[in-house]
Symmetry: C2
Subunit: 382 residues, 2 copies
């Protein structure tokens, strides 16, 4: 009779109507009905991306959308800046290397966020830089980069801003049009509450101009074909229609709540989680934490990998552990997508319980109390 | 109370246990349980590919796997031969063009199959040809290419044979190891009875040697990373875990029936469909038809697009129409994946009915009778 709770920053829990839609007999992805669904999904994605630009639909994970952004916008002689403060910033650099794109890294401690001035200084030195590649929430650390400030720097220069919003879309604010972000990529299994398998990209006008000039090879991820097909409610190649149908249900929830309120809800759940962690006596990893997930440093004597496994096996609670250099040192608790206050209470109370069980001196109830106090403060939207 | 029947060559009907598995709450794709599932799926795919080589799992449609094969095995100066007898042979050429790979086409009428001797003659002239790119079943026409013969030509030369088995895997015979095929690519939504969203590739030893020498850019579709991760029951990037779980159920059916018997079943359903079409007085498109699907020429006075739409709307029966130059001229009836004799009877009887209703002089029952006669001939497996 154990219940399972999933707090990984992707996949995230999927609403029941989206799950059930996937169990329906499959239909042809080029039917008139599918065209209507794809058009509706693309329109609703614009609301989530806070943009009037076309959103492109790809059958891939978020990494495919990242590679697509590079392959569609850059040329072999281009030089870019890559902000690296965790595994996914590093991934931008790895994709550059695979395509022979020269890049200048801005390397930060894992958990830190970039100082926009550092980017401005680099661009002053190398004004021919074609693009700045950043994450919004660095999923491996839970740190938020201030892409609004970055866009203020890039929007008046001949430099494009690429934002990996893979985990943060629909959790942290991202006003693509208002802020002047050129390229946003994301995927289905985070704030969009759908299984992994769909990637998204949105480009503004000057990004599309770059696409026309770019010379790197691209076929499956050709953004021009995705845009042209999308306008007709179609895709260049057979799409994961099952997930598109599930996504429509998930987007109905987001559009019904409204993206501004969705983000406010995430901010609140994140704040409650952070206050709880501190009340338990634990330290946060990120200096500028995102709404997407909270990374919590574990006391040094705790084996983080074993702790995460024990919590899953014994308590049915799945946190994410640390990745690469943070392996075993942190836990990551997502409050992402289909999440409410009760989920935060479970995540926190289970954490207290688990720590107590392995002999860590934890004030039982302190985290839950702090979370409750944060949540009970009147917020207009809940 | 209308019932719907899907006869498109992808997606194909999905068995109920696979559908229902997708409605279960999603779990973390890096859990111990997911590792076991991925390993099991990869082992069972080897049975379907009739190979001891590793099968690679990609989150993409079949086109992504095709692009992956090119990007992982070829280098910028390579020259290849592309067999073009329909939309998907042409796609091999389009991917070559996107990557700047020079290719010699062998162009055939849509519906025809390649003469292996033509390939041998070309290779004699250009023995430095790096690869021959073929389809097994050309999905746009239903024609089968004799890749066993092609492999006899390539296996003793320094030329690799790439086979697009996107639609034919699990329907037409494909003995990767016995025949000596170097590269096979496929996907989930055809003979494997799973939604679109997973791509597969298998490479033999000399194909892997080519991977080590190749210099085209690749990241998301990097086959080396997919192989290394697969050995650990993992994937380089977040996979479409929902479809992997569904695929495990579908593969259980295939492995339980056995790939040899699965192919025999498809051969039988295809033969019945062809005999029915002829009995109705219709002509087949393909000179060497595949087990995968049957393409039937429509009488000239029939508007094929309108007919396919009418059959879907009025009778709940979805055939595929013709693509590109065959648009409006043919219907394609798949007998692919989770298909039994009764499905063929429905496909044929509905065709008779539909043709009669639009005034075509069809001998009602003739197609069904011919199909029955073919099916009733004793076959060892059913």
């Amino acid at each position: 009779m154990k219940k399972h709770f999933l707090f990984t920053p992707g996949p995230t829990p999927i609403p029941p109507e989206a799950l059930l839609a996937m169990a329906a007999p499959i239909d042809y992805h080029r039917s008139a009905e599918a065209v209507v669904i794809i058009k509706d999904v693309l329109a609703k994605l614009k609301h989530v991306f806070q943009t009037r630009n076309d959103v492109l639909l790809l059958t891939s994970s978020g990494t495919g959308a990242m590679e697509g952004a590079l392959a569609n916008l850059l040329s072999s002689k281009d030089r870019v800046i890559v902000i690296r403060s965790g595994k996914f910033g590093e991934r931008w650099g790895e994709i550059c290397s695979a395509y022979g794109i020269e890049f200048e890294p801005i390397d930060l401690e894992w958990g830190d966020s970039v100082h926009p001035q550092a980017v401005a200084d680099l661009l002053d030195k190398r004004p021919d830089t074609k693009a700045v590649l950043s994450t919004l929430c660095e999923t491996s650390t839970g740190a938020l980069h201030d892409v609004q400030q970055l866009a203020q720097i890039t929007r008046d220069r001949p430099t494009l801003l690429f934002v990996d919003a893979v985990s943060a879309l629909g959790a942290d604010d991202l006003q693509m049009d208002n802020w002047g972000i050129d390229v946003v990529v994301s995927c289905s299994q985070k704030g969009l509450m759908t299984p992994p398998g769909l990637g998204f990209a949105a480009l503004n006008n000057r990004a599309w101009e770059a696409v026309e000039q770019a010379n790197l090879p691209r076929f499956y991820f050709d953004f021009r074909k995705a845009r042209d097909a999308g306008l007709k409610g179609s895709t260049p190649y057979t799409p994961a229609i099952t997930f598109i149908i599930a996504l429509q249900h998930a987007l109905n929830r987001i559009c019904s709540e409204g993206i501004r309120d969705v983000i406010t809800r995430h901010a609140r759940l994140a704040e409650a989680t952070r206050s709880a962690a501190k009340a338990i006596g634990l330290e946060l990893l990120a200096s500028n934490p995102a709404n997407t997930l909270t990374s919590i440093r574990l006391p040094e004597k705790i084996d983080g990998k074993a702790f995460v496994e024990m919590m899953r096996k014994k308590h049915g609670v799945t946190y994410a552990g640390g990745q690469e250099k943070l392996s075993g040192k942190i836990i990551r608790i997502a409050h992402l997508g289909w999440m409410c206050e009760h989920d935060v209470i479970i995540a926190i109370s289970a954490l207290e319980r688990g720590l107590a069980e392995i002999g860590y001196d934890v004030p039982l109830g302190a985290g839950v109390t702090a979370a409750q106090e944060t949540l009970i403060k009147g917020h207009p939207t809940q």
